[in-house]
Assembly symmetry: C2
Homo-oligomer: 130 residues x 2
């Protein structure tokens, strides 16, 4: 049983969902992990270019945080010009299937959600129309 609600698993950092949300709830982490899972090993500029609308700063920050948590491996080549390659660690790879489950769910159900939302808005409008 995981019903220990009286013991406050819903409050604070002990709740596993909160931990996951805390770590991956930002704008880019999940997306970068998923991208690396497809492409294997990528350079900084390749990631930036593929995602398209991420700023250099946010890419740096996000990659650094992923590296610090051991989800991504960073390999630096001190050449001229410098080259850096990123790839998923085993830990990072172990997260990928779960992300893809979510993505698949989204692909199946997001249309329904958007329809629901649209109808809900219309219903609200007709209500205030009185």
């Amino acid at each position: 049983m995981s019903r220990k609600i009286g013991q406050k698993i819903w409050i604070g950092g002990t709740c596993p969902i909160r931990q996951v949300l805390d770590r991956f709830g930002d704008k880019w982490s999940i997306l970068i992990i998923e991208l690396l899972s497809h492409e294997g090993k990528l350079r900084f500029s390749e990631i930036a270019h593929t995602i398209g609308d991420i700023s250099q700063k946010m890419l740096t920050v996000t990659l650094r945080s992923l590296e610090s948590d051991g989800l991504v491996i960073r390999q630096f080549f001190p050449e001229i010009p410098p080259r850096v390659e990123y790839e998923l660690s085993e830990l990072g790879k172990s997260l990928v299937p779960h992300i893809q489950q979510l993505a698949a769910w989204g692909q199946t159900n997001m249309d329904t959600i958007l329809e629901n939302r649209k109808r809900f808005e219309e219903k609200q409008q007709s209500r205030t129309a009185y």
Copy 2:
């Protein structure tokens, strides 16, 4: 094959991961869904109390958005004082297993992540110490 990166699945709203992130990347949606999946049917104040540190405003806003997207069913009882009950729709329930997968992953690996992060910080400090 889902490798159509040249076709820009990574840019804009077409990427399923972005859609999911867009919808569920906020602070409370996932947590509320998971809570309702445990408890079945809850009143507004019960949710507020169980979560503990959510403001009334954010609970209202989040529940309203979940309702609008058809993930949660809202039942209003026009009594005095009023009573409102929330429960997951079928659509909402269909998301639960995926959330629990993520939570389980977190429970297994979050300790490792936090250790990694700690060691990374220490390594950075010793570097700037020179």
